[in-house]
Symmetry: C2
DNA sequence: GTGCAATCTTGTCAGTGTCAAGTTGTGCGG
DNA sequence: CCGCACAACTTGACACTGACAAGATTGCAC
């Protein structure tokens, strides 16, 4: 996308792949990979190219946003040809959709055993901090294939976890309208998370633990009794 | 960005410019642009190209997100050559930065004569609904030139309006920590606005007036007394 | 009028997504 | 053990994009 910052292929073909992906170099099972002999350095089959592309994409998104991902760049990072990613993700939208679906899955498991609504909110914010790339893509519908099956099922699963956390709040604590309480809780958590990972709260929160700050924030919603 | 959906240039050169920009096409003679006749159909100078490009960009962003804006596409919509936009905005980042700066200016004036914090929140959300393109770009720092002077001054101005609204809340109503109250209010409004314009609340809010919903939401923060 | 600066055009280059067709490796039935 | 279908990857091509450079046109101060 930005030709000025992308050097020639030779500069980027070194093994600077994501640390998250567990080893972009296949190393299948001690296979006969010629180490540095004159032949081709990498085997024809990558081993886990899909995971490597995902990991590299997450790195790029976390650092420069979703619009900075380039399939060709990811291919270079993984040390494969420029069209290899398409075989796993169909196209750019397919890659981002896969990331979003994975994100909703991760969010669902993060919310899995939340104690109460306040705990769910803290987990929501923590998820956004720990998986900022996923989080950004999950809520950017114009980048996604809306009717993708994996995406919709994962999103439904995560949505169910959220709704469960809201309905667990005792009725006298959440005001007259449960629907409204859900929107309020989601808005507060989502807004805090969004502002946090876009560095719009850097001046306000300072060095304090964001989890703690948000915990205090939730005290301003849903207070059945005054302390 | 997506060549598959973009036809040849001749298909997009028709006068489908933004309706928001007041007269992007000069229409010197009022006649339609002749396809292949020798005479130049449009004058050399556009008249208000900067505004036309901005308007077209806002249309595209509102419809397909910031990643869908293409300087060449905007030039086509305005009926100018592919390099004309660069003269006004330097590059793509410059265009988006100008949009963000304009957005913070609009937000500042929208917050100008807000009554109380609740009113400021309602105006914040209304701004996001009425200027979704501006809003999206304003909080996507990776798309912007961070040290742009116009941007930083406009942002500071809007930030001041927000802080003023928070500090106008009586101390006993906002809890022990004014800073925390500000973060809470901003998070709630920002989260609601973000979820709203990304259509993540379509099922929840239904046909209800979003302003009203958010007004009710704010009642769950900052309640000095029980009703 | 003349000169100048702002505005816009034309041309070019490297980078990108996507499709099509070919190549290489893997696993499986026989 | 063998061949073969299929998955994984490569090569090549095309239309598109952002950015830059150099030239053409216009409005405007003087």
């Amino acid at each position: 996308m930005n030709p000025a910052k992308a050097g020639p292929a030779s500069e980027k073909t070194d093994g600077s792949a994501s640390e998250k992906a567990d080893g972009p170099v296949p190393e299948k099972t001690g296979g006969p990979v010629p180490e540095k002999t004159g032949g081709p350095a990498r085997p024809y089959h990558h081993g886990d190219l899909r995971r490597a592309i995902l990991g590299a994409a997450l790195d790029v998104i976390a650092a420069e946003g979703p619009s900075a991902v380039s399939l060709r760049d990811l291919a270079r990072r993984a040390g494969v040809s420029h069209a290899a990613p398409a075989h796993h993700f169909k196209d750019r939208v397919g890659l981002l959709t896969a990331i979003a679906a994975e994100g909703f899955g991760l969010l669902a498991t993060a919310l899995d055993d939340a104690g109460d609504l306040r705990d769910a909110g803290v987990r929501y914010v923590r998820f956004a901090r720990e998986h900022p790339a996923h989080f950004q893509v999950m809520f950017a519908p114009e980048l996604l294939r809306a009717n993708d099956l994996e995406l919709t099922t994962a999103r439904t699963l995560a949505g169910g976890r959220l709704r469960a956390a809201v309905s667990a709040v005792p009725a006298e604590g959440r005001g007259p309208d449960a629907r409204l309480a859900g929107i309020a809780a989601w808005s507060l958590a989502h807004g805090f998370a969004t502002l946090l990972i876009s560095h719009n709260l850097d001046g306000q929160v300072g060095g304090q633990d964001p989890d703690e700050v948000f915990h205090d924030l939730t005290g301003m919603l849903f207070r059945p009794e005054q302390p």
